[in-house]
């Protein structure tokens, strides 16, 4: 089956600044593709180009076989977008917003009424449906935005940071509903800067940084692919000396050492169960005061760090 979306050198410049830089990426029909990256990575800009809202500076994307440059009307027939910032007039009400959206997207009257009620109830919005948006919290506005797409059930749903500002219970609910939407045949592009969200929800994750695609694969393969797949984080009471770092580097199993916070070292290594006792011994001999040691499987953050030399959090500060 050909990919439902194909981006070919998709590029967007704002003046001299390249927000999206020659992106080549394919989305398979029926999958949830996570677009993971820190703020400013270019996720939203990419999405807006696919949704025909802004025009690419260079390159193009094919959506359902249609070129976003040449057949934008056809492309829009296939899409539903839940924007990062809820796009609504503050004088309107949630019910008016989602009901009108469903109408514009061509849902027949009966189905529309049923689905509007069903989704609004599922998202705990039914009681607020006639309040003005003005009076709603950020999280509630975000729910209105995501409800539009869940009601619409488009061929391709694009959701931009769907659960930001939403409490943890709400997040799980929305993740479940998005997975369900996907099971019913909708292809989903999920832009996010939350590692956990990308990990649990995506079939494949495309990692973006500074407008470029770094890598794209299933979360499992991405994590397995890292050399020095295991991670040990050692938190010291005081800053570890360069000599200490050097000593740690002497272990041949240690692939890489990163300083994540002021007194914390993150070690990427192999054979964690054999090496940790040896490291402990060495640290004790050197008289280092360790306050905690934490071992973990690699996360998508490690994948991100592997490609950029930065944790997502660090990159976030840089981009935001």
């Amino acid at each position: 089956m050909p990919p439902i979306i194909r981006m070919e050198n998709l590029t967007k410049k704002f003046g001299n600044f390249i927000a999206v830089d020659h992106l080549n990426l394919e989305v398979e029909e029926g999958e949830i593709l996570g677009l993971l990256g820190p703020n400013g990575a270019g996720k939203t800009t990419t999405i807006l180009m696919i949704a025909t809202v802004i025009r690419p500076t260079e390159g193009t994307a094919y959506v359902g076989g249609y070129d976003v440059r040449k057949n934008p009307d056809k492309v829009r027939e296939l899409l539903g977008v839940a924007f990062q910032e809820p796009k609504m007039l503050w004088v309107s009400t949630p019910w008016d917003i989602v009901n009108w959206h469903a109408k514009v997207c061509g849902l027949p009257t009966e189905e529309r009424k049923r689905r509007v009620k069903e989704i609004m109830e599922a998202l705990d919005m039914w009681n607020f449906r006639h309040r003005s948006v003005h009076a709603l919290s950020g999280g509630m506005r975000k729910r209105v935005e995501i409800a539009k797409v869940l009601i619409q059930r488009p061929k391709i749903a694009i959701v931009d940071e769907p659960t930001s500002q939403i409490d943890i219970v709400g997040k799980h609910k929305i993740w479940r509903m998005l997975r369900e939407l996907c099971n019913q045949g909708t292809t989903i592009i999920l832009a996010t800067n939350e590692l956990y969200e990308a990990d649990v929800l995506s079939d494949r994750v495309a990692i973006m940084h500074r407008g470029k695609l770094l890598v794209c694969d299933t979360p499992k393969k991405l994590k397995d692919s890292i050399v020095g797949g295991d991670v040990v984080e050692i938190q010291f009471e005081t800053d570890p000396s360069p000599k200490m770092v050097e000593a740690l580097n002497q272990f041949k199993e240690v692939v890489k050492i990163m300083k994540t916070k002021s007194s914390t070292l993150r070690l990427y290594l192999n054979k964690v169960e054999e090496i940790v006792p040896k490291i402990m011994g060495m640290l004790m001999k050197e008289g280092a005061s360790v306050s905690s040691i934490h071992m973990s499987e690699p996360s998508l953050d490690d994948v991100f760090a592997h490609y950029t030399g930065l944790t997502l959090e660090e990159a976030q500060k840089e981009g935001g």
Partner: protein, 260 residues
């Protein structure tokens, strides 16, 4: 077509959300009518008084056009707000063509103007006199085209101004230019006379003659008051101006909201 109706629904719903704003506007309009009628009746020279009889009768059609202008112009305020808050991105992502979107917005702005104006027009008929059915159709047609033109103009201004302040300033400038150089508030013969005496630039006199607001007001006057005499040129002037504004606005809307 279906999408244009959806856009009308969207914009009319928002229009009626501002019902207090509208009520405020309409009462300002009515206050204008009475204040101006009193003030101007005293200021007018005897020859002009002779020509237009009562300023109230003269100004009632002008007021109808004023109300139409203010209400049809409101769509621009919304379009401007949508653009500033990037709500236009949502509109652009909907399954409709750019032309449907642009025409839908211009049309709803115009129709909202017609709805707002209808009580003013009715007041005008009741107090000044009723037109024949044929005249009534012409009045409606002309006002509809004028409303479309104004709506288009406001949208064009809305998408090319970045802030609400700038939009309001631009609206003020357009308002003064269009109303000052028109026969909405005073008869064209007066403007013409001032022009001939060299007290008013001739370019502005010409502008007042082709100004669609002048012509729309005068068409109503010629049917209700018999003066100035009706001519087809008046209708043509409104149609040309409106077509021009409507299409350039639709075009500007498409071009400018896509520019990012």
């Amino acid at each position: 077509m279906r999408q244009i109706i959806n856009l009308l629904e969207h914009d009319f719903r928002n229009f009626f959300r501002y019902k207090w704003w509208l009520a405020g506007l309409i009462s300002m309009n009515l206050a204008d009518l009475f204040i101006m009628a009193i003030v101007y009746n005293r200021m007018l020279t005897p020859e002009i008084t002779q020509q237009i009889k009562s300023y109230f009768n003269f100004f009632a059609p002008g007021l109808t056009v004023t109300g139409l202008f203010a209400s049809a112009f409101m769509i621009g305020r919304e379009v401007n707000m949508e653009r500033r808050r990037e709500i236009h991105q949502y509109m652009l992502s909907l399954p409709m063509s750019r032309w449907e979107l642009a025409i839908g917005r211009v049309l709803s702005g115009g129709l909202r103007g017609m709805v707002y104006m209808s009580p003013l027009l009715a007041t005008c008929f009741i107090l000044v006199g009723f037109p024949s059915p044929a005249q009534f159709s012409i009045i409606l047609l002309v006002l509809f085209f004028l409303a479309m033109g104004i709506s288009g103009l406001s949208i064009a201004i809305a998408v090319s101004t970045s802030s609400l302040d700038k939009f309001i300033t631009a609206r003020g400038l357009v308002y003064y230019l269009l109303f000052f150089c028109s026969s909405v508030f005073y008869p064209f013969s007066l403007i013409q006379q001032l022009g001939q005496e060299g007290r008013f630039p001739m370019a502005l006199v010409t502008f007042a003659r082709i100004n669609p607001l002048s012509n729309a007001s005068d068409i109503i006057r010629s049917f209700l008051l018999g003066n100035p005499p009706f001519s087809l040129d008046m209708v043509v002037s409104v149609l040309v101006f409106s077509a021009l504004f409507t299409f350039s606005a639709a075009f500007a809307y498409i071009k400018l909201i896509e520019r990012a």
